[in-house]
Symmetry: C2
Subunit: 576 residues, 2 copies
């Protein structure tokens, strides 16, 4: 296509509204424009990238056996009341009324709608398995929309829903989606990991997040470079180690005055001992009932793990009043001794510790020389702490690395949450009525484009991985008013177009500097320059955007060279 | 694909909710399901058809030079207030508030959003012309959603917006879209006409509707089979004829008692004269000001034409009170004599009439022997009546035909309505600020699919035009449990798939009758049956869905024959 005919409103200045680099560059490269908070229009260049992602997603979904549908955004309130989410979803749900005052929400996800279809039209085990997917607009009234299309309030999503006869079959469907997602992000040319994850408000038994790795990512993940284990920090497991002790003997229990010293830091520095000698006692409410959670002084409680261990729905820190009532002391002085009326959950790391320091359950006092067995015994031991730097892989013992990522995909095993809520059943081989077992699978399309930019850019602009680039080649005649240059450019343009190369001809009558700057900003992987070298020596320059490697070739060699470089860059991006 | 793996929930019974045939068949063929009033999910088979239409639309839009974008459904209220449509659009606009109580509507069309982009990013005449299009979901809270996807409240639409420097350039853009639409509907394989139309609430100076012809269509259109002139009845022009008269002389004016006779029928039958001898005098309010409109007794006023003639915004019939005030008599007795204080607009047909019968502007009286010039002179003559059967073509004089159609596309020349409202300007060659001249162009995608069914079906089901068919071939092995039949079917399936034919293999273990019935219902244009004839004589049957023509060929000849028939049916549908 011709640059002069395309609507690519590039910006010179850094847009004030944009905080992160992908947002800045998408605005500057004329890919998107903001309509209102968290709501963006995709302009021609931006939509070209989305369509590339869409095509890859669609091919891999079809290949996995999923079938494409298109579900409405307007969802009737009754359906969401049936599933129970009308009230749970809170303010994130956009709600509206029609002219007859009937209530609707704008679908933030489509479990309800798709389950409604399935419960009406699926009868028998013979109709299963089934996987329905769509590429469609979602609406979520985010409390803090930000980072452009990264966290928008209206966004394009590929969502898929699997329906199976039982758990085992559902695992097969889950695995198929997992594998399709691996193929999708690999084909997109992105560096990513699939991490074990919490399933969050969508619910369900287990899930994986697909994270595009980028230093600017919102999420922290741990990966084991040795065996490939990867996890969201929220969910990360590690090789459990007991702390052990250098002390030979157990010291006697002592009560020490620690006036107004509440934090681990304050107490350890006052006592002149390492933080790891202390034990934090946190009082939580598990579904409203108080429990005590013990972790080492230098560790942090992982509330998700604690919740899972206690098999409860809601876990939250207890307030001042409850702490006082349950322990007899204000916050900062809780300890495991004298709270036998509470379940006491101790982290594995406490095993083998000797002579611990704990709160005395009495204001301004701590206890030292506290020992397991002699002084207290927890109700149970469990892994209830967050992963920390230095922890080792739960699978192979290798040292875990921390890095940052951007969530672009999420696969959930839902189980029977929605089929029970909405009554989606089938008749099994024996004619018995059974609940359908579900899974749900999402990919944010514009988010993937933004993540690709976070991962691939430099000071001058975007560096598209070849598979996502809006054009493969930018053909840049330095001066269209020079008849020799112009003719060569037009000939090359025709050759490349006819050769099936996606080429953008910068035919604008602007200064060369503007063309070079815009070209780097747009991030098209290959640039073919027709300039003075062509006039002098008949040579055209082909430059890679990523490593600025320059090849000089005669005009007739351009198509072949470009094709080879496209193959090469595609292969590189896809990790071949 | 294999039928057993596809989600095609066909229905035997006529769905109670469906009034029109396309709605019934789309439900019965498992193409769509209703979520709530006027809101439908597209199931796999339905979405396959939509994607075929989408692909044709996209190709032709791209070919016309339009650029694809994707605009948000959530539109901020302020933007619609700027254009003035927030209040004008009324209840058809879905409105909602976000968590911060800011107001939005769900876009029923996107003039505001696209003009907002253009006013911010278009600076100069060099940036024009520009045409931006999208394929996206629209929301309209129809007072009476009905006919399935034909008149839904949420629906997929291709909308395009052109931006030009002046009126002449805008006409070129309009023509490009018009031509693209002709190519689109021709390629879809539909019989259609493009008619002159009213521009309705979108506003603008002129427009054409693209109508798929079907006896069940909602709209009435007139076409001239001789020269191709076509128009919506609301807008239809015709060869204007003066009525002429058989009377030699002008009769004297007489006042006759017509107690309680108000209608043309009553008066003509009482007086024993033809209805065409009478003149109807209708009192209208044109932007609130009373006017009298005169048409022949057997004609009807065309309010759109009257409105255009008077260059007013709103035209409406005057109520009892105003009629009494302006004419001195109640409704039914109005006439052109003695209302000189009003503009009197007479239809062209009154020219040449002699000895008319009109209301006397006095209760219970009419006048006879009324003559132009002698008794009254209208303020002006104009074409202000509806087209009637027997009228002749305004272009060639041929007899106009009336037929019914379904509106599937609409092109509007908007002029500067939105660019003025929203301040979308550019600098012309001389550096002067000028308003951008716009056009807007829409196609309803699901509506096109429904219209195709209205045009192409029989008692057994759908008959898809080849270009829109969800599959080109239905491969129907009569009994998959018969190893000979099964093997032949599997071989044919592979051959056809590898030959690039879109084939649906009905591999279900159900009775042949069910397969044949479902096959006719789905409307796949070609059916390849492998049954007893194959076992006995090695012969396979290829049947066309439309005319039930059967070809018998040996198995090895199937691919070649199928390909030939696909080409032939495609050509036929596309009118080649």
């Amino acid at each position: 296509m011709r640059y002069s005919e395309l609507f690519i409103p590039t910006l010179r200045e850094l847009p004030a509204e944009a905080e992160v680099v992908s947002h800045q560059l998408m605005l500057r490269a004329g890919m998107i424009r903001r309509l209102t908070a968290g709501v963006y229009s995709l302009l021609p260049l931006g939509y070209r990238v989305i369509k590339k992602i869409e095509a890859i997603v669609r091919e891999e979904m079809d290949r996995s056996g999923a079938q494409e549908v298109f579900l409405p955004a307007l969802n009737p309130a009754e359906l969401w009341m049936e599933s129970g989410r009308w009230h749970v979803y809170g303010k994130e749900l956009f709600r509206l009324r029609d002219r007859l005052d009937r209530e609707y929400c704008l679908g933030p996800t489509h479990e309800e709608v798709v389950t409604d279809i399935v419960r009406k039209d699926i009868r028998s085990y013979r109709d299963l398995p089934l996987n329905l997917y769509q590429i469609q607009t979602k609406f979520r009234d985010e409390i803090r929309p930000r980072f452009g299309v990264m966290r928008g309030r209206e966004f394009l999503m590929k969502d898929a829903y699997s329906f199976d006869v039982d758990d085992q079959a559902a695992d097969v469907s889950y695995r198929k989606m997992y594998d399709a997602y691996v193929r999708i992000f690999r084909r997109c040319g992105l560096k990513f990991v699939a991490v074990e994850a919490e399933s969050g408000p969508i619910g369900g038994s287990f899930s994986h997040e697909f994270m595009v790795l980028a230093d600017t990512g919102e999420d922290e993940v741990v990966i084991c470079p040795k065996c490939g284990y990867a996890s969201n920090v929220e969910k990360a497991r590690f090789a459990v180690e007991e702390t052990g002790s250098d002390d030979d003997a157990t010291e006697p229990l002592e009560k020490v005055l620690t006036v107004d010293l509440r934090t681990i830091e304050e107490v350890s520095s006052f006592l002149g001992c390492e933080e790891r000698r202390l034990v934090k006692t946190m009082i939580y409410l598990a579904d409203g009932k108080p429990v005590a959670a013990l972790v080492r002084g230098d560790h942090r409680v992982n509330e998700n793990k604690l919740k899972e261990h206690l098999s409860c729905e809601v876990i939250e820190l207890a307030g001042e009043e409850i702490i006082l009532r349950e322990t007899g002391a204000p916050e900062g002085f809780s300890g495991p001794m004298g709270v036998d009326h509470l379940p006491v959950i101790a982290d594995w790391a406490l095993r083998g510790m000797k002579n611990m320091v704990v709160g005395a359950n009495e204001e301004h006092y701590h206890l030292t020389g506290v020992n397991l067995g002699r002084d207290f015994s927890p109700t149970s031991f469990a892994d209830i702490r967050m992963v920390e730097r230095g922890d080792r892989c739960p699978q192979c013992g290798g040292e875990l690395e921390f890095c940052r990522g951007i969530e672009v995909g999420h696969v959930f095993k839902l189980g029977t949450k929605y089929s029970k809520g909405l009554g989606a059943t089938y008749l099994d081989v024996d004619g018995a009525v059974r609940y359908i077992v579900m899974g749900s699978y999402g990919i944010g399309l514009a988010r993937t484009a933004a993540a690709a930019i976070e991962q691939n850019h430099d000071a001058d602009g975007i560096i598209w991985p070849m598979p996502l680039a809006p054009f493969q080649v930018l053909l840049l005649p330095v001066n269209m008013n020079d008849p020799v240059v112009r003719q060569a450019a037009e000939e090359l343009y025709q050759q490349l177009e006819e050769g099936g190369v996606e080429v953008l001809l910068d035919d604008r009558d602007v200064r060369p500097g503007v063309k070079f700057k815009d070209g780097d900003l747009l991030g098209i992987p290959l640039r073919v320059t027709v300039g003075s070298r062509y006039k002098e020596r008949g040579v055209v320059e082909i430059r890679t955007r990523a490593d600025r490697h320059v090849e000089r070739v005669a005009k007739d060699g351009v198509l072949a060279m470009v094709r080879r470089m496209i193959r090469q860059l595609t292969g590189q991006a896809q990790g071949e």
